[in-house]
């Protein structure tokens, strides 16, 4: 087994004050694979209690009291090394090999840290190297593929947006299923964008009751603990990083028809419609030829071809479009990615510091979108008195997100806009001969296209108006974590900490008075300002006792008070007399002004006991009682608990001889945690009162009933069972863990649907039960590890089954899903596509008749809804690899998701065909039904709405995909070259984010909302960058 020092011991046990008139031994400690100096490695002489720590050059010196001594050199994450030294020998060079397993590391769990080995809880940790240097400013986007059981989807890839994270499945139906974020010991309520990934030292993901339940009321959906970097004792270390990259969308948009094919196809639709109106072939052809240009509002073939498609349905010979403008391309911009970080860290005997600052500029792939951040962090610790420790972490960030509309079907949606308008509509105004119409100073003029049909977004030209408009969110964040820790006795410590997250969110949405959509009303402006203040005050006592080295007891008791206030103002005005003024003051017409404020508080008491015997048998138990202001005084208190045990079998004598076995622990845990996170529609912060919401009318005060009374509403409870095994084989060249879990969410905070005729569509109630069952495997292999080469491969796999186990009524239909016992929360319930009727060309759906026969119908509204598959994936996970050869490092993170379905409404909008003339059409429409071509999945082509594009299983696509989330290639410049310029270390590298995507349904970014529906959202960005990292 390995001999190692824990991180805590490293920090606390530092001492360098032992000087005697004895023999001096000097040396340097380097990483074996890259020969980089290791700062903070401990050097122990003869297993004494007074280690020496290496400085920033990796150098150390120790005094020997005798001629000979045994040195033990150790460093976190590396295998320890022992060597015998003699007085007077030359300087030592010690190479420490990276250790294989992470099973021994120290990880953060609720309110404390534990060593992973033997800990009964299910914790996954993610080390800083996986997240520090990622080409996304938002940490949630960097987690994908790194840990089993974490489903991360980024439905909207606009720079600065977060991903949706689900730990071990979807845990609630109407209340939140989002995990709790904890930063440096306190729940984090600030903007996740305010955290610079470069400042993060480690992330722990707490998945089961034992690990998470001390956060009781908020642990139901798992906890993500982020620990930021602290300084280490020793010389100041200066690190600088600079990245410059370039981005574009990760996958190409859907294919679209060209102008010629479009015109011929539309002609066919018009002809077919005229035929069905009773016109003769000749009349119908004439009708089609003459209506074509008039219906589309434009003739790109010029005045020479007033009817560009002849009565034979073919383009007139020699007719050529005079222009073909690429709106999709016009909506894109060249996107730069710039990231710079500078940090200083160090410490003395009594204090440590980490001070860092960063700048990130992440342009979006679409016009006027992007994200900018300036941030700083200062983490200080001070040993004020021998018994008193003080800590202060401050993080500040100012972010600015240019946020044009990038979801839903609004005309102003930058993603949808370029996709929608075909190339035969000009971007700039043109004369009939195709030449540009110039204004009096010879400039091209944008064409706002009031003549375009509705489907081609008349009056809008975002390419022209976006640069004049503004949609910006500017946030200022300050987060502080401050604590005072007193050691009352050797075993008893009391810690009080006050933690504050303050966010000021401002948004300005402005449309200009000159051109485009709102020019007719003189432009509009909306300004919102929201103040968001959350603080947590907690007081914790811990008692840590070793009895005769065999029994170890750790007790913890504490209380926590949480307060949140959110307060906002918003107003909008319109009609600017003058251009280029963006603030409301310049708009002459007041439209609306409003403001609200909300408070949310929680009070908690908790305790935990941990016990182990001989480092082999571990037991933990915890209990927590929470009161939440969301519930009525009679039902607001809930009690949550957990218990867990583990057995480090590999420590038993009978397994010691088994050489190939390095580690083996089995563990199990069970507990209950809570959820009070109701959505606003479900009662929000005030989930017990009968409420009337304010709806004023023409200057008179007005209210409308908004919720029925629910005085008995209480906590949703999550019962979480976990059992698993941690293993390591062949000196931990193969190691990992396997877990099975069953999460049962009961007393769901549920919006029980009511008949609309009662005047309410739902009432909040604790009803229903949901179960997530799954297995997770994390497997790490070190195929190669020697002085030059080191290769690590990690694979994680998770399977989760989501199942409703109890409902208040037989079935509940909600949108495209239906809930029933035995199904999941996201099972599609749609009309089932039955193909195209070969005889008539009409679309068909299945219906089940009253006597149970399944037949087809061409009337959509008569189709029966059926279960047509789940949106939830079967298996999610990732593959990571890092390969080091001397100074070269190559690593990647590959994330995958297998199974599940997506209902692609984005694609439907391109299939509506002649029902929506003027919008881009998919080439798939070319395969439509004709009397000669009856075997097809696209019905006959007409301007009538046959219902083809109505929501049905026709548009469900397999959601399976895999994505190369990160690829990194780096080179550490050798020390001998650096010495001359005074650098301690330097690394040049190339990075790529989302470089490759493997998926089936072209055009759609495979990362969509968890419920499997698309919403015209901003696709993921692919970014490639080069960078340099310098240490001084």
């Amino acid at each position: 087994m390995l001999q190692k020092q824990g991180l805590l011991a490293l920090i606390l046990l530092f001492s360098s004050g032992l000087f005697a008139q004895t023999k001096l031994i000097r040396g340097v400690v380097l990483g074996a694979e890259n020969k980089q100096p290791l700062e903070g490695a401990t050097v122990v002489v003869n297993k004494s209690e007074h280690p020496v720590v290496t400085n920033s050059q990796g150098r150390f010196e120790v005094e020997l009291t005798q001629d000979k001594a045994l040195l033990t050199i150790s460093f976190v994450g590396r295998e320890s090394y022992e060597t015998e030294v003699k007085a007077g020998q030359p300087d030592l060079t010690i190479l420490l090999k990276a250790s294989n397993s992470t099973l021994e590391e120290v990880v953060a769990v609720a309110y404390t840290t534990v060593k992973r080995s033997g800990y009964p809880g299910a914790v996954t940790s993610i080390s800083s190297d996986k997240i520090n240097n990622r080409l996304t400013p938002n940490i949630t986007n960097a987690l994908q593929g790194l840990a089993p059981g974490i489903q991360t989807t980024s439905a909207n890839g606009q720079p600065g947006n977060s991903s949706t994270i689900r730990i071990r499945g979807v845990g609630s139906i109407n209340a939140s299923s989002a995990p709790l974020f904890v930063v440096d010991g306190a729940p984090y309520e600030g903007d996740i964008n305010a955290l610079d990934p470069a400042d993060i030292a480690a992330i722990s993901i707490l998945k089961d009751a034992t690990a998470a339940n001390l956060y009781g009321s908020r642990a139901a959906n798992g906890v993500i603990i982020i620990t930021t970097k602290q300084g280490k004792k020793g010389d100041a270390v200066i690190n600088a990083t600079l990245n410059q990259g370039w981005g574009s969308r990760a996958v190409k948009d859907y294919d679209k028809l060209g102008t010629d094919q479009y015109f011929e196809l539309y002609w066919e639709a018009l002809r077919n419609k005229a035929l069905s109106n009773g016109q003769t072939d000749a009349q119908a052809a004439a009708t089609a030829s003459s209506a074509l240009v008039s219906n589309l509002g434009i003739n790109p073939y010029g005045a020479a071809y007033p009817e560009p498609v002849g009565h034979d349905g073919k383009l007139v010979a020699s007719a050529k479009p005079l222009w073909n403008d690429d709106w999709e391309k016009g909506m894109h911009q060249s996107a730069k990615y710039t990231q710079a970080q500078l940090s200083f860290s160090g410490g003395s005997e009594r204090s440590t510091y980490y001070v860092g600052g960063g700048y990130t500029n992440n342009d979006g792939a679409f016009l006027s979108s992007g994200f900018k951040r300036y941030n700083f962090r200062s983490n200080l610790t001070l040993q004020a008195k021998p018994w008193l420790k003080v800590g202060l972490n401050i993080n500040g960030a100012s972010t600015s997100q240019d946020y044009p509309t990038s979801s839903d079907s609004k005309q102003a949606n930058v993603v949808l806009f370029g996709r929608t308008i075909p190339g035969f509509y000009p971007i700039y105004q043109r004369n009939a001969d195709g030449s540009y119409k110039l204004d009096n100073i010879g400039q091209r003029q944008f064409d706002y296209g009031a003549y375009r049909p509705n489907a081609a977004l008349p009056k809008y030209n975002l390419i022209g108006s976006m640069p004049l408009n503004r949609s910006r969110n500017t946030n200022e964040n300050v987060s502080t974590r401050t604590y005072l820790e007193a050691a009352i006795t050797k075993a008893l410590k009391i810690k009080t900490s006050f933690n504050l997250d303050y966010t000021n969110l401002n948004s300005l949405y402005y449309t200009n008075p000159l051109l485009g959509e709102d020019a007719a009303i003189g432009g509009t402006v909306q300004k919102n300002s929201n103040r968001f203040l959350a603080y947590t005050w907690n007081n914790i006592a811990t008692y840590d006792l070793d009895i005769a080295s065999a029994h170890h007891i750790n007790l913890l008791a504490g209380h926590e008070y949480y307060y949140l206030n959110s307060s906002g103002l918003s107003g909008n005005r319109q009609n600017f007399a003058l251009p280029y003024l963006y603030e409301p003051v310049a708009a002459s017409q007041l439209m609306d002004f409003t403001g609200t404020s909300d408070n949310y508080t929680k009070l908690s008491f908790f305790g935990q006991g941990q016990y182990n015997y001989l480092g082999k048998y571990f037991f933990t138990a915890s209990v927590r009682r929470d009161g939440s202001s969301r519930f009525s005084p009679d039902s607001r208190w809930g009690t949550f608990w957990s218990t867990g045990a583990s057995w480090r079998i590999s420590e038993e004598e009978f397994l010691k001889p088994v050489n190939w076995l390095s580690a083996l622990t089995i563990k199990t845990s069970y507990g209950a945690s809570g959820n009070d996170n109701l959505s606003t529609t479900n009662g929000g912060y005030y989930a017990y009162l009968p409420l009337y919401s304010i709806e004023n009318n023409l200057g008179n005060g007005g209210v409308v009933p908004s919720r029925l009374p629910t005085p008995g509403l209480k906590w949703e409870t999550n019962l979480n069972f976990n059992t698993g095994v941690d293993f390591g084989f062949l000196k931990n060249r193969i190691y990992g863990s396997f877990n099975y879990y069953r999460r049962t969410s009961k007393d769901l905070l549920y919006s029980k649907p009511l008949a609309g005729s009662t005047g309410f569509t739902a009432i909040s109630a604790n009803i229903g039960e949901l179960r997530n069952t799954g297995v997770e495997l994390e497997l790490n292999v070190v195929p190669v590890s020697n002085n030059d080469w080191r290769w690590l491969v990690g694979i994680n796999v998770a399977h989760n089954k989501n199942e409703i186990t109890s409902l208040p009524q037989k079935e509940i239909i909600s949108g495209t899903k239906k809930l029933m016992v035995g199904t999941s929360v996201y099972d599609f319930f749609l009309r089932q596509w039955a193909g195209v009727d070969a005889a008539t060309g009409n679309p068909m759906w299945y219906r089940t008749t009253a006597d149970g026969k399944k037949e087809t119908t061409s009337t959509y509204s008569q189709g029966t809804q059926y279960y047509t598959g789940s949106a939830l994936p079967d298996v999610t996970g990732g593959i990571t690899s890092s390969l080091t050869y001397k100074q070269v490092e190559l690593s990647f993170v590959f994330a995958y998701s297998l199974g599940g379905k997506v209902l692609d409404a984005d694609y439907i909008s391109l299939l509506t065909g002649a029902v929506n003339p003027g919008r881009n059409w998919s080439p798939e429409l070319l395969s439509h039904w004709t009397p000669d071509h009856t075997n097809t999945n696209v019905p006959r082509f007409t301007t009538d709405d046959l219902g083809f594009t109505s929501t049905s299983s026709r548009f469900l696509y397999d959601a399976t995909y895999a994505r190369l989330k990160q690829l990194s290639l780096g080179y550490n410049i050798p020390e001998k070259l650096l010495g001359r310029i005074g650098f301690k270390s330097a690394k040049v590298y190339g990075l790529a984010e989302n470089l490759l995507t493997f998926y089936g349904h072209k055009g759609m970014d495979p990362e969509q909302a968890v419920d499997g529906t698309t919403y015209y959202q901003y696709p993921q960005m692919k970014t490639i960058s080069v960078g340099v990292q310098i240490g001084l």
């Binding site: 209690e49 007193a486 609200t596 023409l698 409308v704 005729s757 009662t758």
Partner: protein, 510 residues
């Protein structure tokens, strides 16, 4: 390991710390009681007549100025008017425009899974519940007796208006089958134990409507309203006239209509061309003013207004056959023109509705013109040709149309003339489908073609000054979506009870 000196830790520090902790905790406990700022608890609403009146005002706002289900296609109560018009004979909807094409094609309202069905249903009943809360509590709250009386009357009349709307669209004509099960009736406030009422018959619904209206009428004696959106006796009479007409009580309908129209002289011709956006119009009996900060209802003008540059969709075009119904000299005829804008060429614009400059427009709910037509129809159905023709001609004269000659006219001729006049006068106001259902007529839509089936051409002058001939645009949905012809009393004309109601009301079919 540690070499600290613990003696310097003074014990009193622990006490101070402990005291601070206890003090802090007790303060925290009180903080667990919070209250919203954008909503009020029920007990406050039910405290006084002034407070309860806010529920009436809020209900009115929710009725008129809420996008139902937050969808722009559902701009408040006008949604129902738009649906009714789109399913009639005279709006040749541009189907490539937003929101109403499936309605126009008769595929939406018949489909219980469509969100618009849900939106309308839920909103109407939400407001019915609010009126029930007022009616149940108004007698017990503190405050001025007269104010309580007026509030009660207005709540009763509003409830009747909503049930009348439901009776008009969710079932065939009362005259076809008064015992047809239609929709549930609620007359008491919903509580947390309410689970839904069964469908009631048309007869039950109208019984409730008449009871409410007659009670309201009595309570509103002497009430002087301060704004035209408030319900007074004239509005109640107008609602009574509609209810009597629907149920075949012809003379009562005529009498109530006659009472309703008294204080609202027909507008001078020039006012007809002002855009139907002004609640101060002399013949508006009931209407809702719109202001820039409260203009969701005005969004309906984006569909109806086919000529203003600020309009969004201008999709409610007139059918050419509709334009041909008007006589020369009729002020309404001057509102027609063939659209000459690129992309819309050949559509027939009927410029009845126009936005004001600030993109608002008041919403009409009841005009004396309608009352004249109810009066005319009431008499005509009772075979009183003279009185019927007189009422019709009062309106025709005001519009500058050729009057109806009662001499030798049959009852049917007069009724037909009145029904055509209803289409002409009330176009765009929401009566089209209601009249088709009420009178058990088929929808009539014909191709506007010449004798040999070719599109008829009209002459337009484009904005560039080019004069040209283009085919006149006409109806594109000439049959039901399944290809069958329009027939009277088709289920496709009715609003369907939404699937969510079926699912969650265990008593619906009892």
């Amino acid at each position: 390991m540690f070499n600290f000196n613990y003696n310097c830790m003074k014990t009193y520090k622990s006490y101070i710390y402990f005291a601070a902790l206890v003090f802090g905790l007790s303060a925290c406990n009180k903080q667990l009681n919070t209250a919203p700022t954008n909503a009020v608890p029920e007990e406050i609403v039910l405290r006084s007549v002034a407070n309860l009146n806010t529920l009436y005002e809020g209900s009115w706002r929710a009725l008129m100025d809420d996008f139902y289900s937050d969808i722009y296609g559902n701009p408040g109560f006008k949604t129902i008017a738009l649906v009714s018009e789109a399913m009639g004979d005279d709006v040749a909807l541009i189907t490539t425009k937003y929101s109403y094409a499936p309605v126009y094609r008769f595929t939406q309202m018949v489909d219980k899974t469509q969100s618009r069905n849900n939106a309308i249903w839920n909103q109407l009943y939400k407001i019915i519940n609010s009126t029930n809360i007022i009616i149940a509590n108004v007698d017990n709250v503190t405050g001025d007796a007269t104010a309580k009386q007026v509030l009660k009357a207005q709540a009763l009349a509003l409830r009747a208006h909503l049930y009348l709307t439901i009776a008009s669209f969710y079932q065939f004509s009362y005259l076809k089958d008064p015992l047809a099960k239609t929709a549930p009736i609620y007359t008491t406030p919903t509580t947390d134990t309410t689970r839904g009422n069964p469908k009631a018959t048309l007869k039950d619904i109208y019984t409730q409507v008449f009871a409410d209206l007659l009670q309201a009428k009595g309570l509103l004696d002497g009430y002087q309203r301060t704004a035209k959106y408030k319900i007074n006796k004239d509005v109640v009479n107008g609602l009574l006239a509609r209810a009597y007409l629907n149920t075949g009580q012809w003379l009562s309908a005529a009498a109530a209509a006659d009472e309703a129209l008294k204080n609202y002289p027909l507008m001078p011709p020039a006012d007809y061309t002002k855009g139907f956006n002004d609640v101060n119009n002399s013949e508006w009996i009931w209407g809702h003013p719109e202001i820039p900060s409260q203009s969701d209802g005005s969004y309906s003008f984006n569909f109806l207004d086919v000529s203003s540059p600020v309009s969004g969709y201008y999709s409610f075009m007139a059918d050419p056959f509709f334009g041909e119904l008007f006589d020369n000299g009729d002020i309404r005829k001057t509102l027609f023109s063939w659209d000459n804008n690129p992309g819309r060429e050949g559509n027939l614009q009927y410029k009845k509705f126009r936005f004001r400059d600030d993109e608002t427009g008041d919403l009409v709910l009841m005009r004396s013109a309608e009352a004249y037509l109810i009066k005319a129809e009431g008499y005509a159905r009772e075979n009183n040709i003279t009185e019927g023709a007189a009422a019709l001609n009062a309106l025709r004269t005001a519009r500058g149309a050729i009057t109806f000659d009662p001499t030798g006219a049959t009852q049917q001729q007069l009724i037909d003339a009145i029904l055509v006049e209803r289409r002409k006068e009330l176009w765009g106001e929401g009566f089209a489908l209601a009249d088709i259902i009420r009178n058990q007529l088929p929808v009539v839509r014909k191709p506007y073609v010449d004798g040999s089936g070719n599109d008829r051409k009209v002459t337009i002058t484009t904005p560039d000054g080019v004069t040209k001939q283009v085919p006149a645009k006409y109806h594109t949905a000439l049959k039901f979506a399944d290809g069958t012809p329009f027939v009277a009393n088709s289920p496709n004309y009715l609003f369907t009870i939404p699937q969510t109601e079926e699912q969650n009301n265990p008593n619906l079919f009892n």
